[in-house]
């Protein structure tokens, strides 16, 4: 029981940590929702560990925790892929801005040269 309680508390602490970050505008609201679902899953599994046992029996996994790890890894992979996509989008935008800045700087310089 002690272990269950420990995981539930870990989940709750994580959820609070995320919510504090959102409250202080340090984290995106829509992005935080995804993570809150993750912590919610930790809390539920922490309180009712039998869920994992039940589901692994259903799908035919002999060692129940391995199902838990599998789900965690898939979740982390998905989030990682999302991050990768986001970083690339940002990179594209940054280059676009750099190009615009460079062209505008040249335009300003040309104008100043004409005025002088």
């Amino acid at each position: 029981m002690g272990v269950n309680l420990f995981f539930a508390i870990v989940g709750i602490v994580l959820a609070i940590y995320i919510l504090i970050n959102v409250k202080n505008n340090k984290f995106d609201i829509s992005e935080s929702l995804l993570w809150l679902f993750g912590t919610l899953a930790i809390i539920i599994i922490g309180i009712f560990p039998n869920i994992v046992q039940y589901v692994s029996n259903l799908v035919g996994i002999a060692y129940a925790p391995s199902l838990f790890f599998l789900i965690c890894i898939i979740f982390i992979l998905l989030i990682n892929f999302r991050n990768s996509k986001k970083i690339l989008k940002h990179q594209e935008k940054i280059i676009l801005l750099a190009q615009e800045v460079a062209i505008l700087k040249e335009k300003i310089k040309l104008k100043e040269d004409v005025n002088e």
Binding site: I95, A98, Q99, V101, A102, I103, K105, E106, L110
Partner: protein, 236 residues
């Protein structure tokens, strides 16, 4: 008179750039020159500005393709009729650019590529380049039914239509993949023999052994993506 712009991306090219600029100034008097300084660490910017040539300086290094695109965007915003992509290392010969322009006007092509392989030129090709080019030429021929002998050439002439397209959509690695993309989109691409010099100073972008192999794999992968995209485009 058509407005012609030489777009020359330059990264640490202070040793070569002056010669290149003077050559264009002397041989293609009616054209404008734009140097896109890709945040060089040497004094490329000062050299160019002392010559009274327009120089766009990027705030950080964006690599070759995006530097080229910056120049094309500039051409698009300033309503140029033709862009000539030119190298800053002195490989390309300014006089040959007129051949490209004439070919473009004659054939009404959208892109004219200055090819090192169309006829036998005295340019010494590296082993990897020949193999790579042969593979790309074969791929383009088999999928697009068009013979492009030098798809990797950085010496190209673009018309207004292509300037607009490139200003909004330009890949990070413009090579055979871009040629295929443009052919699929219905642009007319022509080639003409262009003589080129051997690099005088500095190092080539595609030097070494590992780098060209990595580059080849990347371009081949991009080509596969373009082929898949094209299948879906036809069905839609």
């Amino acid at each position: 008179m058509d407005k012609v712009l030489f777009v020359i991306p330059a990264y640490n090219e202070s040793e070569n750039i002056e010669k290149v600029i003077n050559e264009i100034k002397n041989d293609v008097t009616y054209a404008d020159i734009l140097i896109v300084n890709d945040c060089s660490k040497d004094n490329t910017k000062e050299v160019v500005e002392n010559l009274g040539i327009q120089c766009i300086t990027l705030p950080f290094n964006v690599r070759y393709a995006m530097a080229v695109q910056t120049g094309i965007k500039y051409a698009y915003q300033n309503d140029y009729d033709y862009v000539i992509q030119f190298d800053a290392d002195g490989q390309h010969i300014a006089k040959e650019a007129e051949k490209l322009l004439n070919k473009m006007k004659e054939t009404n092509a959208d892109i004219v590529i200055g090819s090192r392989f169309l006829e036998k030129t005295d340019y010494p090709h590296s082993f990897f380049r020949v193999i790579g080019t042969k593979i790309f030429t074969f791929l383009i021929k088999s999928f697009c039914k068009k013979k492009i002998t030098d798809p990797t050439s950085g010496f190209q002439c673009l018309n207004k239509k292509v300037i607009k397209r490139y200003a909004t959509n330009y890949p990070e690695f413009p090579d055979a993949n871009l040629i295929m993309e443009m052919l699929y989109e219905g642009y007319d691409i022509q080639e003409i023999t262009a003589n080129m010099r051997i690099r005088e100073n500095g190092e080539s972008m595609h030097g070494g052994i590992i780098k060209p192999i990595k580059y080849m794999i990347l371009i081949l992968y991009t080509i596969i993506i373009i082929l898949i995209r094209n299948i879906f485009r036809k069905r839609v």
